[in-house]
């Protein structure tokens, strides 16, 4: 079906694949519970992820109470402390951030942004959520078994993870490993959906190089997930076998309490390689969607095209590819062959280059823009500050020699919280303020949002900046308490107390956000279909919120890239992707190039 309007600029290629028959649910159960609609699945993922994230947040308070005021809270034993550390880390990285960015944002935004009615495998998509929920339930069950949850650190290093010197070394660690395996199964199902939908279900005219960067970020992250999670899967299976069947994949000869254990010949280093082969791409699985989303937030709210879109795409893909050859920078002092240090330090510092380019391009999008200081923009600005800070400390740690004094200190903790905890979470908030009007038809309350933003940004920065300096001092991570040394001054303990207070304040401030989300459902200002005047397809749906099938009777047809902001000669300061060229209103007397001549190569 070719457009009948005249002129080559109106040409849109014919559809390559027939439109698939969309599944229509009949009952309440298949509409809202076991739904195959990606938007419902997205909300299910998001609520579950944020729910377990709140548990992770409470665990962090308990950890901070112990660190800030040791010997005050007698209910936090050393066993408990290591269990809190472990569960907080695993929950936040895997069950919150990965699930929220891919399962939450991916499901909601990908079909809408590429102009599809839904994901290409809706039944598999529905299953993926329930399997994720099962993984969460199994993980939470480990809190209630004898011995409690594992206290082996989120990195679960053997041999200690499965030996009696570590809390939760019985059923606790087994449930953790089983939960991870279930999670990976579910995320493979979801991941196939996201990748294939982007590759196969884009609407007419939506070439890959016309997709918003949000899609590029989530798509690349999903490819990474499909390739990296298997390494964790096999590591988890092998460790479970070591524990339950007495194999020796990771277990050398060990003497424990005077007894020579039956293990022989395994090496703990193998687990570390498998874990970090997954673990490093994992942090980019969290970061790349954040990169993509923040690009769109900045662009829309600065009313300017993202600067260097094609370079941004290549940077995302390049970072994704490079992320597979840097993993052993987590193992510089592991005792692995020291020659690896040269290789991995080089690749790690190389990956800094495309990452820095993205930072420059975000800031260059603000330059010569027309910046609206809306809440999504505020969160984007805060992201840039915290991400540059966190990325820079990564350069310290990535440089192998510098990692020798800094590894396993609070510097590492400060680095990964800033770059993975603070920065992407700021993007999550910005994204929710941005897309809430599309999902609900209402704006989030601005006053509550301003309070939430300033407390969260300034508070989180205040928590993690000083921690770097404790790291330089040599304060170790994963210590139940740090008294009895000759080199750590009293002031460091006072600092820990101060940080704890700030952490509690920031934590409680999130209540305001949660209240805002529910209050605005009924009382928020009505938003209309496109309150931010954005160009991408999710804002051009037939109804708000989008109904089943997303776009009404006709799928949209795309004529341009997603960043037609401030196009010269055009009356409006933005052009939606699906606005036909002959419908564009130009300024009176404008005789320069038409909009379609100004689009970059696609």
């Amino acid at each position: 079906m070719v457009d009948a309007t005249s002129g080559p600029e109106n040409f849109v290629p014919a559809a390559e694949v027939e439109e698939a028959e969309l599944y229509h649910p009949k009952s309440w159960v298949t509409k809202y519970l076991f739904s195959q609609d990606a938007k419902v699945i997205a909300i299910q993922y998001s609520f579950t992820a944020i729910g377990i994230g709140l548990i992770g947040l409470v665990l962090s308070w308990l950890m901070r109470l112990q660190l800030g005021f040791p010997e005050t809270f007698s209910f936090i034993s050393q066993d408990n402390y290591y269990q809190f550390v472990t569960m907080h880390g695993m929950i936040m990285v895997v069950y919150l951030l990965t699930a929220l960015f891919l399962g939450g944002f991916g499901n909601y935004l990908i079909p809408l942004m590429v102009g599809a009615r839904d994901m290409v495998f809706p039944y598999l998509n529905m299953l993926s959520y329930w399997i994720y929920l099962l993984a969460v339930v199994v993980l939470l069950a480990s809190f209630f078994v004898p011995g409690g949850p594992t206290g082996a650190g989120w990195t679960l290093y053997p041999p200690q993870a499965i030996l009696p010197g570590t809390p939760g070394n019985g059923l606790g660690v087994v449930l953790m490993l089983v939960s991870l395996a279930i999670f990976i199964v579910g995320f493979t199902m979801g991941g196939l959906n996201y990748v294939v939908t982007v590759l196969q279900a884009r609407t007419r005219g939506m070439t890959l190089m016309r997709m918003p960067l949000t899609v590029w970020g989530i798509f690349t992250a999903t490819v990474l997930a499909l390739l990296a999670f298997p390494a964790l899967f096999v590591g988890a299976v092998m460790m479970t076998l070591d524990h339950v069947l007495g194999t020796s994949f990771f277990m050398p000869a060990i003497v424990k309490s005077g007894e020579l254990l039956p293990y022989r010949g395994g090496t703990p280093l193998l687990f570390q390689h498998l874990f970090w082969f997954f673990g490093h791409p994992e942090v980019y699985i969290v970061a790349l969607p954040a990169f993509g989303i923040v690009s769109d937030l900045i662009s829309v709210h600065a009313r300017r095209n993202i600067f260097g879109y094609r370079m941004m795409v290549w940077a995302i893909v390049g970072i994704g590819a490079l992320s597979f050859i840097v993993w052993a920078h987590h193992m510089y002092v592991s005792g692995m062959n020291p020659w690896f240090g040269f290789f991995f330090a080089t690749t790690t510092l190389i990956i800094a280059v495309p990452t820095a380019l993205k930072v420059y391009n975000w800031v260059l999008t603000l330059w010569k823009g027309n910046i609206r200081l809306t809440l999504p923009m505020l969160f984007s600005i805060a992201f840039i500050i915290t991400f540059v800070n966190g990325g820079i400390t990564g350069l310290f740690l990535g440089n192998v020699a510098v990692d020798v004094p800094l590894s396993d200190t609070m510097f590492v903790v400060a680095h990964f919280h800033m770059v993975m905890g603070v920065a992407p979470i700021l993007v999550v908030f910005g994204a929710i303020y941005h897309w809430y009007p599309k999902m609900t038809g209402r704006m989030l309350n601005n006053a509550m949002g301003q309070f939430h933003f300033w407390v969260t940004f300034l508070g989180a920065y205040t928590i993690f900046l000083p921690l770097h300096y404790l790291g330089f001092l040599g304060v170790p991570r994963r210590y139940y308490e740090m008294s009895g040394t000759t080199y750590i001054p009293e002031s460091a303990q006072s600092l820990n107390g101060f940080i704890t207070i700030v952490a509690l304040i920031v934590g409680f401030a999130q209540i305001v956000f949660i209240i805002n989300v529910f209050w605005s459902l009924r009382r928020g200002k009505e938003a209309g279909p496109n309150p931010w005047q954005a160009t991408s397809l999710e804002w051009q749906t037939a109804t708000t919120p989008p109904g089943h099938g997303n776009f009404g009777k006709e799928l949209p047809v795309v004529y341009r890239w997603a960043y037609a902001f401030g196009v010269p000669g055009v009356k409006d300061d933005y052009l939606p992707q699906n606005l036909a060229p002959d419908k564009i209103e130009y300024q009176d007397g404008y005789s320069g190039p038409k909009a379609h001549e100004l689009e970059p190569a696609h």
Partner: protein
């Protein structure tokens, strides 16, 4: 406007904190100043980038704040600018990496004149073994560990007979003499770290890892375990005492060799439990 101001205040606050903070590296007591120097270079280069990016962003927030009558400039890309930025960044990154790799090269190549000592880590204590008069450490194996042979030394290896067993948590070193620290664990991963030395390496059960260091200041320094090793990880402490050669030789005389310990074991009741830290010593500070 107030947002740009807040951004600038965050930047200024960060810089002030850096210079006013009392929390900084504990004074170095070893030859690994190259690590501290690389950190300093990194701070200068990345600090400059941090300041430049944040200030530029604040400038944009002021100059380009929303005005109804204004339009953003439409500029999809600028090849020249992007190439320049890539080149400058690559140069900056290379400037960080080069000193770091040189320092790492030094770290993994042990000087000829270094003497070897062995650190044995186990949940949750440190003990040590010195090579004795022959300068060689005897072969060990976890499978040989027993109540009479807590270090697991092979009694058939002649090199091991004169090994000196430091079975408490205080290790002594001679100021100015390079030492290759061999690291062994009998159970789980550990990491031997003295913050003033700036040198560490994980200990892997089933392997022997190493690092080398030359202590440059006399004094007593904390040994901390720097790889999570179970519930007692934070309590796995020891002390390194750096002293003159004379004082060191005097200290050494208090300890048994492996062959002496075997003799004593034969004279004692065989039901002695395995405890590597058999002797209680008050730490000299």
């Amino acid at each position: 406007m107030h947002v740009a101001l807040a951004v600038i205040l965050v930047l200024v606050g960060t810089i002030l904190f850096h210079f006013l903070s009392p929390w900084w590296s504990t004074p170095i007591a070893s030859n690994w100043g190259a690590f501290d120097d690389t950190i300093t270079i990194t701070f200068w280069i990345t600090g400059a980038v941090f300041i430049a990016v944040i200030l530029f962003m604040a400038y944009c927030l002021i100059k380009y704040r929303h005005r109804e009558d204004r339009r953003a400039e439409y500029e999809p890309e600028n090849k020249k600018l992007e190439i320049w930025l890539t080149a400058i960044t690559a140069l900056g990154v290379a400037g960080l990496l080069a000193p770091g790799l040189f320092a790492w090269n030094k770290y993994i190549n042990v000087p000829e004149e270094a003497t070897s000592i062995e650190v044995v880590g186990q949940q949750w204590q440190w003990t040590f073994r010195l090579p004795g008069t022959d300068g060689k450490l005897g072969r060990t194996s976890t499978k040989l560990i027993s109540p009479n042979n807590p270090y697991g030394i092979d009694p058939k290896d002649p090199n091991g007979l004169d090994d000196v067993l430091i079975d408490d948590s205080e290790l002594h070193m001679v100021k100015g003499k390079p030492v290759k620290v061999l690291l062994r664990s009998v159970d789980v991963l550990h990491d031997f770290y003295v913050p003033q030395f700036r040198a560490k390496m994980d200990i892997i059960p089933g392997s022997v890892t190493y690092f080398w260091v030359t202590p440059t200041k006399e004094g007593a320094f904390d040994i901390m375990c720097f790889e999570l090793c179970g519930r007692g990880h934070h309590a796995m402490r020891g002390t390194v005492v750096v002293q003159t050669q004379e004082a060191y030789d005097k200290w050494l005389g208090d300890y048994d060799t492996f062959s002496k310990s075997l003799e004593e074991a034969n004279n004692e009741t065989p039901t002695k439990p395995v405890r590597l830290a058999a002797k209680e010593r008050t730490a000299t500070r």
